[in-house]
Symmetry: C2
Subunit: 661 residues, 2 copies
């Protein structure tokens, strides 16, 4: 119990200042903190019984919490941002996340002004509850493969929606199964003999008075999932369901009364508006989710002791946190939390900037936003999912108990790697854009934004980094340049291979593996450079800058070690220089070690949000673990177990032969 | 539905011959096949409702299946090996696994002849049911840290057992919570003022007539876990529990009536006998578990289509299995299954050999067995756990549905990385042995067995592999040598660093990260070399050898690509040679592609054992998925969900303010 107090006394910086920086400024931190406390202090939001609930109970519990959030939003007049953070801290996913994070933004992006005037007030006041129905049983990432159809019927000025095959059944949309009254449905638009590809349609599913299904609509729940079983991921059949023509979202293209199809001049990227919003949210949530797991693992590693410190018996065992094998796995994840949070802050700024521009019909930065959100979504969710699992392992066996909080966190987090763009497909897309940018830059078209380095360095030969001794690696620019050179070399290599193929697309397919690695490298570079931007800005608070600088070095050097082959291959590092990296990492681990508990305190997580017997603020892990065995555990209600007389006693007494099983 | 039939027609080898090879010979295959069918055809062993059961129901279901297995074992007079395989295929972990895989072997290894004569007939007939209680709430891997005490009381010729603190509570042992009548307890032996460290004691926990707890014994279940919730992992308090002196297992050391402590001359490694058995089992199960996930992912990747093959609309979409990004992630796991299975076969031979030798008091090969089982356990379980999760991702979103079978497989498999030796700690141990072997070999003591290469190559300078064109990599010896050189270079580098430290142990601690990587490299080499041994033996059946050779190349080259930095650093590969590896991998993917469905068929898994809507033999994935939504899903019993009137309607009608939540 004393150990975390001692750890906190060792730290060399002012924690509150870092909290403020982490949460994006004083005002934002104050709001976030208020919402976290609100979630933690309300008994309705208790969640420690969740792992023992049945599926039916889970859904009901999710409904109850969602309703209570809604009530608080209304009672306390919370802003959209406050409501969003409250939902994050309540930490029980439900239809409301999909309504607010997908349905509403899709209306904002794809509906015309008139349509918005009609639908948005209904959606924003939750007089209707919407879901976003794109994925089908047989069709995920490839929107073109969608089979659901919307056929224009001029006679009644309507569309007739149909899911003609089993594989066209809408499958997965959250909120669809048991709650949503309306769905935004992606369907192929058929007018006359023409197939215009997928477009979005608003379809009412349920009666607003009694929640019964409307004619031709069949929906239900798709079954138990790995995690997130508080959400009613649903299936949907449509059999000749008619909707008014005006229920097609027409910002991108319209169908007139006469059945004429007209594309608008709004760029196609707008269509991905809802997806970009969703991805932007996913990236900022990656940092939050990883920070939860890292907090638990760091605190418990301070509490947990193993093996004798001095090698002699009788001495107290060593804190697990002191082992380099623990530090090597844990500290880079801590650094990644900060790195991703700063990338997310930059991305939010970029996103708001592009929204402003779009209002002025300036679409010039859309490709950059599209590519960065796709790439960073893929990078941060992959690392976060694997990182949460790594944190579980770093808690030893006890991480396997649900009371540790990590198994549920992991299972709930995983879908982020798949939904809103499967990560490998996103990396391939980013890779395609990078190759185009590289080839364009050779034709004299300068690249800008996060790809500016391609034009800047394209005619450089890779020069060696010039590191002589290990400490030379502690140099912001040498590290940044290492990632630029590596990324550029990978792009160059891919371009060479792809250009040798019969055509560009065939090359992209054949060398997809290399292209994914190249895109990953580029995305790591973006994160590095945004971290560096942060370091070069104002950083208030005693000692805070030093901590961030150490984390920056650690983040960069850990990646260099992990991908050492790339850096050697690029020629930026020699084998001798590479051999110095490990030693420098040990120096960084030692710098972080006394500060590490304070560095996770700076995430400002409540015990409620962590939901972990191992990771609580007071460090009282063993007593909490112990008590956890009795929490909602029916097995401990009786000494002799249910099933003893049928299934155990006959074995022990040798009477199994005559017993009936 | 047709697609898997077509895939099978494309294959270029005789599947049955590979089945026989995979399962270790005709007789073994026939037995395995019989047990798999027995499990699949008995309705008691149905498992597709497992994900929807509550914890209490799960335990009872586990008890029922375990009893039914026992009944079949008796009714059909199954051998130990048959019974073991039946339990594997029933695929519902229970106390019986711990009884047979831990408790019985511990008695065999640690009890004296007389003790065995008393305890083994009771245990083998299940008149008693045992568990293995070592881990404590505060003490896992470090046996020395154990706090439970057994104090000798000469007056009554007994030991008094005590768990004096909360952290000394026994915690985790499977079977302990609700079933075991006896426990093998690791406790510190105290005689007079002397503390002799941990020894094993048999303690009866429950009355054999009525299953009530004996005086001073408190046991119960530790709560819900990530997976394996059919098992009653337990806690145990002991308060002045007296047991006869002869309940101490005395093969290693005895305490006489007079309180004299005498060590026997049996080597200490025997103490780890039960653990070596358990690890050997874990390694062979790694291959089986990974093979299940790979089968599901391969079959579903053949069924699932995404994006247009030719790029043009209207064409059927491409089989996901045709994408190199899918092949690159999936095929090396397929190769790993075969590689691990062959390592396990070798290890079983080695283990049986050592058991024979021990009977003749020849302990010379014990260190090799100990080190190989430790290292291969760590390697194979780490890769298998990560590989199962990778297979889940390779199934896209649907892998997240429990009906895919993979989430449960993963959650159930994970503890293998932690129990019977946490993997990082095992690698450190193997690393320590390797460094000792290396240093000894420089003092003229030749290394043998799996470390023979250290002496053989120690004075070689690394020579380049001599590869000129990519196809030169398709050479068994070049690949084997690559791994030997890499491993040796890593050992050399670690030895250099460690020797510079103040003392050997301090060096091991400081460079633990490098040592773990070095040990991993050595274990990969073992697997490579045992795969090669297999290739060099007899391989019956048309086309089978060619398949295994391709898989060997793939296994080796994938690892070279993954750890390219090591191979570049060792000088065995130049940057130019390294750049050829990727292209050769593409060649191998193309060779495997037409055979891949047949290569997973060769694992011989029943649909029952796979337990997957996605991976069934007939490939009817979408219909099974679809029907899966209704299986034990109470949410689909009503159209309007439970909770609608309290939690949804008030939101839609704007009456939340007046509702009571």
């Amino acid at each position: 119990m004393e150990v975390l107090i001692e750890e906190r006394q060792k730290s060399e910086f002012e924690v509150r200042s870092l909290k403020v920086l982490f949460w994006g400024g004083e005002e934002s931190f104050e709001m976030v903190s208020r919402m976290a406390t609100l979630a933690a202090s309300d008994p309705v939001f208790k969640s420690d019984d969740r792992v023992t609930l049945s599926r039916g109970e889970l859904i009901k519990s999710g409904l109850k919490k969602a309703a209570h959030v809604r009530k608080l939003v209304l009672d306390l007049s919370l802003s959209d941002r406050e409501a969003y953070m409250l939902r994050i801290f309540v930490d029980e996913r439900s239809y409301a996340d999909l309504h607010w994070n997908m349905f509403v933004p899709a209306l904002e992006g794809q509906a015309t002004k008139e349509q918005q005037d009609y639908w948005l007030p209904l959606a924003r006041s939750m007089k209707i509850i919407g879901c976003y129905a794109q994925t089908e049983l047989g069709h995920g990432s490839n929107v073109r493969g969608i089979e659901t159809t919307a056929t224009f019927n001029a006679a009644n000025d309507e569309f007739i929606l149909e899911t003609p095959t089993i594989t066209s059944t809408k499958w997965w949309p959250g909120g669809l199964g048991k709650v949503a009254t309306h769905a935004l449905i992606q369907a192929r638009l058929l007018v006359g003999k023409e197939d215009y590809g997928t477009h979005a349609f608003i379809v009412q599913l349920r009666d607003l008075e009694n929640h019964k299904l409307l004619a031709g609509v069949k929906v239900g729940d798709i079954g138990t999932k790995y995690g997130n079983n508080t959400v009613d991921n649903g299936y949907l059949h449509l059999e000749s369901v008619c909707i008014p023509r005006m229920n097609m979202l027409m910002r991108m293209a319209e169908v007139t009364k006469e059945g004429k199809y007209k594309k608008s001049d709004v760029p196609r990227q707008i269509l991905y508006g809802a997806m970009v919003t969703a991805r932007e949210i996913i990236i900022s949530e990656a940092a939050i989710n990883l920070s939860r797991a890292v907090t638990i693992a760091v605190r418990y590693s301070a509490v947990r002791r193993q093996f004798s410190g001095s090698g002699s018996e009788g001495m107290p065992e060593e804190q697990v946190l002191n082992y380099v094998t623990q530090q090597q796995r844990l500290f880079p994840l801590l650094a990644a939390v900060y790195a991703y949070q700063f990338s997310a802050q930059w991305l939010r700024w970029l996103y708001e900037d592009v929204q402003e521009r779009i209002k002025k019909n300036d679409f010039s930065t859309l490709p950059e936003v599209h590519s960065c959100t796709a790439g960073l979504k893929a990078l941060t969710t992959s690392v976060t999912a694997a990182g949460i699992e790594e944190c579980r392992k770093l808690c030893g066996g006890h991480g396997y108990l649900c009371s540790s909080g990590i198994p549920e966190l992991y299972a709930a987090y995983l879908p982020s790697c798949t939904y809103e763009g499967e990560n490998i497909i996103l990396f391939r897309e980013v890779g395609r854009i990078l190759l185009r940018t590289f080839l364009d830059s050779h034709k004299g078209k300068n690249s800008s934004g996060t790809t500016a380095y391609i034009s800047r360095l394209k005619s450089f030969n890779v020069q060696n980094c010039g590191v002589v001794q290990g400490s030379d690696f502690f140099n912001e620019m040498i590290l940044l340049r290492a990632f630029e050179m590596r990324s550029l070399e990978l792009i160059r290599g891919c371009a060479r291979k792809v250009l040798q193929s019969s055509d560009f697309q065939a090359g992209l397919d054949e060398y997809a593996v290399d292209i994914v690695e190249m895109a990953q490298a580029h995305c790591q570079l973006i994160v590095i450079s945004k971290f560096l931007d942060k370091l070069q800005g104002e950083i208030p608070g005693p000692g805070v800058r030093e901590q961030l600088q150490t984390l920056y070095y650690l983040y960069a050097l850990s990646l260099i070690k992990e991908h050492i082959g790339d850096f050697l291959s690029s020629g930026y590092l020699t084998r001798t220089q590479a051999s110095l990296v490990t030693k420098q990492l040990l120096v960084l681990y030692a710098k972080i070690r006394p500060n590490v508990v304070a560095l996770v305190d700076a995430f400002n997580h409540t015990d409620h949000f962590l939901g972990s017997t191992l990771g609580s603020y007071d460090g009282d892990a063993y007593n909490r673990l112990y008590k956890g065995a009795w929490r909602n555990n029916p097995l401990n209600d009786t000494v002799v177990t249910d099933g003893y007389s049928e299934y155990i006693r006959p074995i022990l007494t040798g009477q199994l032969g005559v017993s009936r099983l």
